[in-house]
């Protein structure tokens, strides 16, 4: 073995593949310990974990969990591209560790044998031997190794059993590239595979030992008529010289014409072979075969009545945790930010630099970090739901409801989370495999009224309805209902237009329930939250700086203040009214800044909605984060810190007038403003996250446009009709 090691010029890389729920991540953690690098694969939000095999220089790369290599979902695409060495910046692995679940042998062997086809060195870790035994099955790993011509190591990863032998096997990888495929394709299909392989081989797009397996997978993709597979097949063609691409395309069309269902036959043939292997390597032992623990739990958790009641309770706790448990931490962070800003203000002279630090940078950091507790809590809750197996049940329970608007059961949790904040909601859509479903969910998530809208709702409702509590509560409920109904309606619209196509199937494994390991939960939470900070956080921060600059520049000197402000200033006693003076000047400066001018500029556009330029400034500055509206209104209406003077601000809002003396915020204008806030996409952070999650600013731009148009149209309708109707 020393020889083999010395021949290798670069450190060895081993990829870990396996079905979801096979315990792949547990094996990965057991092999590598704590030092892992977590990132995303370029251009997609599929997590990429890398770490050193403890005590060696072998690098392990955790592939996404997949059932097959047929490239129908981004996860499968990535797993397959890596095995074939087709991901930019990720070298082709020298060997593959396939983790299989002994208690679910046949389906796990489907992926394992697909990977074996590629001819690279493979070690199989046969995990969950204990679970299999408890179900009355003993898997003979030596026999399995003989059947598959590769190493098979029995494992109970959760207890650490077998990890040492696995480590040994990985350190001594050997290539057995001579494996013949022991199951037969139809003669037409076999012929096509040979011919396609013959064209691909000289192009060196795939390593020699992987050409046959690559040709087979490519043909399978080509034969699956729908978007996912076809797109992948076409992507591969682009890597080939034009002539070769044309050639194999003709061969594939020829096969499709002769034997349209060749792919199904190939899947059946593989499974027939696998069934035979399973019969030879599994012996029945006297175990519990009757109701398993999972069955007993499911009898309650998916019960017609209790199941739904418990589901509602679980969702309530999830919602509560994001909505209110994050609150103390968030206000702590907020006061830390304010304290820091105060300290800077005390030590620095007033000027652009001080303002950049306090109102730009610190506010920007605050905007990012402010979401952080919510994000951490959400990721923790999601990890609990996923790790226990309840996530699949949630989708199972809710699919009927969601399918009414063309969505998948898995869209429920992201949409619910969006009531707290659209950002964790959008991040939670990662569990939705189908791209059309996922993007639809992302696009409508910000319509759910998030917690940042709440202060805006409260101040406007307070200003227009005074102390009529019942009416205020009804309006508040109406706003949440409006957001929800619009989100579902838009989902239906998108699924019928933008993402039209055959309804994606609902084919989902219901894994056995499983006690979560607290350490693994914390780790998942931390890894994902950290990715949020580095990915979306930087964008959010940058945009905050831009918005700060727009509201700071150009600077107004006191001499240039408006005549009205000057007369107010003159009336002040300079000795005692320093604060009042600052407040008046701040209002003047905001009015004079780019954002203030923009507020004036858009007044003609927003006047039909019942808003004046001051509300325009509020709307514009809300883009930083909706709650900024309250602060901006505090400055615009010159009442100082709105936290201290909430009543004063409400009064100012309620009594502000147009130049002709009419009240600005009549009930109708107020409702129009509320409708605008429910529907408009006023959150740069959301747009930044959408860009990261979809991989393109185009979707952010589209989301912004459709929501703004929708908000404008609805507010216009409300104000124009309401105004004529009520006078």
């Amino acid at each position: 073995m020393a020889d083999a090691a010395s021949i290798r010029a670069r450190p060895i890389r081993i990829a870990i593949a396996g079905n979801p729920n096979s315990g792949k991540t547990t094996v990965f953690n057991a092999l590598t310990g704590l030092r892992q690098k977590v990132a995303n694969y370029p251009g997609v939000t599929v997590e990429k974990r890398e770490a050193r095999l403890a005590g060696t220089d072998i690098t392990l790369l955790d592939l996404p969990g997949t059932y097959s290599l047929s490239a129908r979902s981004p996860d499968e695409q990535i797993a397959r591209d890596i095995i074939q060495g087709r991901v930019e910046g990720v070298a082709r692995p020298d060997g593959i560790l396939v983790v299989i679940d002994a208690s679910n042998l046949e389906r796990n062997l489907y992926l394992a044998t697909q990977i074996l086809d590629f001819g690279a060195p493979v070690v199989i870790a046969c995990n969950m031997m204990d679970v299999a035994l408890a179900r009355g099955m003993h898997v003979d790993c030596d026999k399995l190794a003989a059947e598959l011509h590769t190493h098979v190591i029995p494992l109970v990863a959760s207890a650490g059993e077998g990890i040492e032998s696995l480590r040994g096997a990985l350190a001594h990888l050997e290539c057995r590239c001579d494996r013949a495929r022991p199951w037969a394709l139809s003669s037409h299909f076999e012929d096509a595979v040979q011919r396609v392989a013959g064209v691909i081989r000289p192009t060196h797009v795939l390593p020699d030992h992987a050409v046959r397996a690559g040709a087979l997978l490519w043909l399978m993709d080509f034969l699956s008529a729908e978007a996912g597979g076809r797109a992948s097949a076409e992507r591969f063609l682009k890597r080939l010289p034009l002539q070769a691409a044309d050639l194999i395309q003709a061969m594939a069309s020829d096969l499709a014409a002769h034997e349209p269902d060749a792919a199904s036959a190939a899947i059946e043939a593989r499974y027939t072979w696998i069934t035979q292997i399973a019969q030879r390597v599994v012996t029945d032992t006297p175990g519990r075969r009757a109701a398993t623990r999972t069955d007993r739990i499911d009898r309650i958790l998916t019960h017609r009545v209790f199941g739904l009641v418990i589901f509602a309770a679980v969702m309530f706790v999830l919602f509560l945790s994001i909505f209110s448990w994050a609150e103390p931490l968030m206000s702590l962070l907020e006061s830390a930010q304010k304290g820091l800003a105060g300290a800077v203000k005390a030590r620095m002279a007033d000027g652009p630099l001080r303002s950049l630090i306090t109102d730009g940078m610190l506010a920007g950091v605050g905007a990012v970090v402010g979401f952080f507790p919510q994000i951490c809590i959400l990721f923790f809750c999601l990890a609990v739901l996923e790790d226990t197996g309840y996530m699949a049940r949630a989708a199972f329970l809710m699919d009927r409801l969601m399918s009414r608007v063309g969505l998948h059961g898995k869209s429920f949790i992201p949409l619910l989370s969006s009531y707290a904040c659209a950002i964790p909601g959008i991040l939670a859509t990662r569990t939705i495999e189908n791209r059309r479903d996922r993007f639809t969910t992302i696009l409508v998530a910000p319509l759910m009224s998030c917690s940042a809208r709440l202060p805006v709702y409260l101040i406007i409702i307070g200003a227009i309805f005074g102390d009529r509590s019942l009416l205020k509560a009804a309006v508040m409920f109406g706003l949440y209902a409006l957001g929800t109904v619009t989100a579902l309606a838009m989902a239906l619209v998108f699924k019928k237009t933008l993402f039209a196509g055959p309804r994606p199937p609902f084919i989902m494994e219901l894994p056995p329930y499983h006690m979560p390991r607290p350490w693994a939960l914390v780790r998942t939470m931390w890894d994902r939250s950290k990715l949020f900070l580095t990915n979306a956080g930087t964008t959010i921060f940058a945009v905050c700086i831009v918005i700060w600059a727009m509201s700071y520049f150009p600077r107004l000197s006191e001499a240039d203040a408006s005549a009205e402000a000057k007369t107010r200033l003159v009336r002040l006693d300079p000795a005692h009214d320093a604060d009042a003076r600052e407040v008046i000047l701040a209002a003047e400066r905001l009015r004079h800044s780019y954002i203030g001018r923009l507020g004036h500029l858009i007044e003609p556009a927003i006047k039909p909605l019942g808003f004046d330029w001051r509300l325009g400034i509020g709307i514009l500055s809300s883009f930083l984060a909706r709650e900024v509206f309250v602060g901006a209104m505090g400055i615009t209406f010159a009442v100082g810190d709105p936290d201290l003077h909430a009543d004063a601000l409400r009064l100012q809002l309620a009594t502000a007038t147009w130049p002709d003396g009419h009240r600005v915020l009549t009930p109708i204008a107020g409702i129009s403003l509320l409708v605008f806030y429910v529907l408009a996409c006023q959150c740069v952070s959301t747009l930044a996250v959408v860009r990261k999650e979809t991989g393109s600013w185009r979707w952010s731009a589209f989301m912004f446009t459709y929501m703004t148009v929708l908000a404008y149209a609805c507010s216009l309708g409300v104000y124009q009709i309401g105004w004529r109707w009520l006078g």
Binding site: Y67, S68, S70, R72, S103, N104, L105, E106, R107, Y110, R135, M220, L223, S224, A225, E226, A227, G228, G229, A263, S264, I267, E268, Y271, T272, T275, T294, D298, T302, H303, R304, V305, G307, L308, A392, A395, F396, L397, D399, R400, L401, S403, G409, P502, R503, P505, F506, I507, M508, E509, L510, P511, P512
Partner: protein
């Protein structure tokens, strides 16, 4: 053996059948087959979701959930 060829969606709760054919669009058909629903595989109807759809199946020793519309494209025979 008195076998009856019918869609899986018509299987009663707790009843077991043997897959004879999977139909429907290639993409979905292939996915169902890759999950182990190939001809000859035994499949049991375990439960129906509280809202009436989807259903839970037992196939090749594990639990799989599909909508009734997908279950209707899988044909089985029962003894």
């Amino acid at each position: 053996m008195n076998s009856l060829h019918r869609p899986l969606s018509e299987l009663a709760l707790g009843q077991t059948g043997r897959v004879t054919e999977v139909t429907g669009p290639a993409e979905i058909r292939h996915r169902l087959m890759e999950m182990g629903l190939t001809s000859g595989a035994d499949v049991r109807m375990v439960r129906i979701a509280p809202l009436g759809d989807p259903v839970e199946l037992q196939v090749r020793g594990y639990r799989l959930s599909v909508r009734k519309s997908e279950a209707a494209s899988i044909f089985i025979e029962t003894a």
